[in-house]
């Protein structure tokens, strides 16, 4: 064959043998009718598919050389593109050879039309791409691996972003907690300061008494001094207990809320103080119809009412009959408890700024201990409320306690 070619292409020859070129080109050529029937091909094409010429020409269609999957692609993509554009290029099919093995090829096809545009036949060129296909297969595997890896990365990235937002949330929680701790620390520092201050007086007192006691030689004097020890120690113990109680309240921030009915708590409080109410001949009234109930820690409300009511009784005016009225009001976001009396009142100009501090007393009264209002304020603020007071000396006092609205 090669020798023939050499002869044919001898430059001394003026004429090339196109048929020889057609048959021996390194690519396959075939010509088919619009219905796909192959009507001519070169030898190379027949070599590709391993068929004899008589077995193919006028007998086989292009689709007869394709697998079933290939036929679907031929019908749904290849032939539509060819019909619409007159040309289709670089389509990869697997030819099924006569022995059943496969040959990956690339096909370019072009429609040949007559002068009126009627489709006469289709010319196709076929390239053997066995080696390139191997390479392509490897590329495809690499691409799939890269895609998988990329998806994995996306998933990991998403996970990282999720944990990052979790960490941010935890950071905010920690900051809040830290803030809370700082507050608590400050409270404790205040408390330690007040406590040491308030405990110093009775301790000094005890110290002096001890001095007298040691110096005294008289047995009666010693006995009298000893009873004074008992009294001072009693007061000291009581003060200490109250201080401990107030610390407990500050710690109890997460105390449980529940539905509480004002009438019920008020009746209970009045019953506890019944003796003092009777003794003082006070007129005690209430009206909780505007806001009958609230979501609130029951123990706190009991303690608040007990403090307010006992304060009113304790600081009554000796000049007139004591009148005490408890009621509630409701606003858009809040419920307010109002306790009014016509007692001694408080000089707010003088004492207003330290009214709710620990161990401040504003009355020269025998059993003023200065712990009640501090505890009340602490209890209210522990669950996010506030307390205010309006008062005029010798006219009376009105305490307003604003609760966050959590009506049941």
């Amino acid at each position: 064959m090669m020798s023939t070619l050499k002869t044919k292409y001898n430059p001394t020859m003026s004429h090339l043998d196109y048929e020889e070129l057609y048959n021996t080109s390194p690519c396959g050529y075939f010509c088919s009718l619009p219905d796909g029937t192959i009507i001519d091909s070169n030898t190379r094409f027949l070599e590709f598919i391993n068929y004899e010429r008589e077995e193919v020409i006028q007998k086989k269609k292009l689709t007869d050389l394709l697998s079933v999957g290939g036929k679907i692609y031929f019908e749904t993509v290849y032939s539509q593109i060819l019909k619409l554009g007159g040309v289709v290029e670089e389509i990869n099919f697997d030819f099924i050879k006569k022995d059943g093995t496969r040959l990956p090829v690339l096909i370019n096809s072009v429609e040949i039309k007559d002068t009126e545009g009627h489709h006469l036949f289709t010319q196709s060129t076929v390239f053997n791409i066995s080696q390139r296909k191997e390479y392509e297969r490897e590329l495809l595997i690499s691409k799939r691996k890269a895609d998988d890896l990329s998806n994995e990365l996306i998933a990991t990235n998403k996970k990282l972003r999720n944990s990052s937002s979790l960490i941010l949330k935890q950071k905010l929680q920690l900051e809040e907690f830290n803030h809370h701790l700082e507050n608590k620390n400050k409270q404790l520092l205040d408390f330690a300061h007040i406590a040491s201050h308030n405990l110093r007086a009775p301790v000094n007192n005890l110290d002096s008494l001890l001095g007298f006691y040691n110096e005294s030689t008289d047995i009666d004097d010693k006995a009298m001094l000893f009873t004074k020890f008992e009294i001072v120690i009693g007061h000291l113990t009581e003060t200490l207990n109250e201080l401990i109680e107030s610390v407990k309240i500050q710690e109890d921030v997460n105390i449980r809320h529940g539905p509480v009915v004002f009438d019920v708590i008020f009746d209970k409080t009045a019953a506890i103080l019944e003796g003092q109410i009777l003794e003082s001949k006070a007129v005690v009234t209430s009206n909780f119809s505007k806001a009958p109930a609230i979501e609130y820690p029951k123990l706190y409300l009991e303690s608040i009412m007990l403090n307010l009511l006992s304060n009113s009784i304790r600081y009554r005016s000796p000049d007139r009959i004591l009148k005490i009225h408890f009621c509630t009001e409701i606003n858009t976001n809040e419920v307010t408890l109002i306790a009014t009396d016509n007692g001694l009142g408080i000089d707010l100009k003088k004492y207003g700024h330290k009214l709710f501090g620990l161990s401040n007393t504003f009355h020269k009264h025998s059993d003023s201990k200065g712990v009640g209002l501090f505890m009340t304020k602490t209890q209210i603020e522990a669950v996010g409320g506030s307390i205010t007071v309006e008062s005029e000396v010798d006219k009376g006092a009105t305490f307003k306690i604003i609760f966050k609205k959590n009506l049941s």
Binding site: D35, G69, G70, E75, V77, Q80, I81, D94
Partner: protein
């Protein structure tokens, strides 16, 4: 809404007439496939051409893999298109898989559709017991492999041009010759939905008048499958065209036009 849907399905409308013809291409191509047919109807009908989402020049971003994991998603789009365009007495011409999309749409809103014209329909491509769809799962797997090795110019240069996202006039000519391009991932998904679906039970419910056009030799939808569709649609007519292949509207447009005209 209207604008969005027109862009989503690359809807084009032309022709005149009170009645409308809605052409829906099948798997592998786009509205270009009707170009030999529509000139013969444009004087008497309003012609509505669409690209299914994921095909042709539809909005690729609208391709939701969940929505289009069954033909119902496409049928919902058809119903929506008829609704926003206010179409009535619609003649729906569906090729291949879109014949089934047409059945689903007509079952959803029967009053909208006057007639269905199916070209090469198949309710199920995979063989099943006594039913011969013509293919096995293995054949479809092979098709997917072939799709993988034929990206058909879907390169990073051409894809944005085809999608209409790039102003590249120098590629216009190349674009002119690119038909039936689609994103390879979407093409594979659509192929799975098309060739692995089963809509046989929907045929019996259909009451719309239906014409079934069947090629005498079709590797995708055999005469037996066409006959099956005819037997299960009560109000149907079955016409066998003397044409080969799966696209008589491309390979034998005159016969196809004549058959549709006779029916309408």
């Amino acid at each position: 809404m209207l604008k969005e849907i027109i862009a989503r399905n690359n809807i084009t409308i032309h022709g005149k007439g009170n009645k409308s013809m809605l052409f829906v291409h099948g798997y592998g191509c786009d509205q270009n496939m009707w170009r030999f047919i529509t000139p013969q109807f444009k004087d008497d009908y309003q012609i509505i051409l669409i690209d299914l989402v994921g095909s042709g020049k539809s909005d690729e971003n609208a391709y939701d893999y969940d929505k289009y994991s069954s033909l119902e998603g496409y049928a919902d789009d058809i119903v929506e298109i008829c609704d926003v365009l206010n179409l009535k007495e619609v003649n729906l011409i569906g090729h291949s898989v879109s014949a089934m999309i047409g059945v689903l749409a007509a079952l959803k809103t029967p009053s909208v559709f006057e007639k269905l014209i199916m070209i090469g329909p198949s309710p199920r491509y995979i063989n099943d017991a006594d039913y011969l769809g013509g293919f096995s799962q293995k054949d479809i797997d092979e098709l997917l492999e072939i799709l993988d090795s034929n990206y058909l110019g879907w390169s990073s240069t051409m894809a944005p041009v085809i999608m209409g996202n790039a102003d590249r006039p120098e590629l216009a000519e190349e674009l002119e010759h690119s038909f039936c391009q689609s994103n390879p991932e979407i093409a594979k998904h659509f192929a799975k939905v098309t060739f692995l679906g089963d809509n046989r039970s929907d045929l019996d419910k259909l009451t719309t008048e239906t014409l079934i056009l069947q090629c005498s030799l079709d590797a995708i939808a055999s005469i037996e499958v066409g006959q099956y569709v005819h037997n299960h649609i009560s109000n149907s007519k079955f016409v066998i065209l003397d044409a080969t292949g799966h696209c008589p509207h491309l390979s034998a447009p005159n016969q196809t036009i004549a058959a549709i005209k006779r029916y309408l």
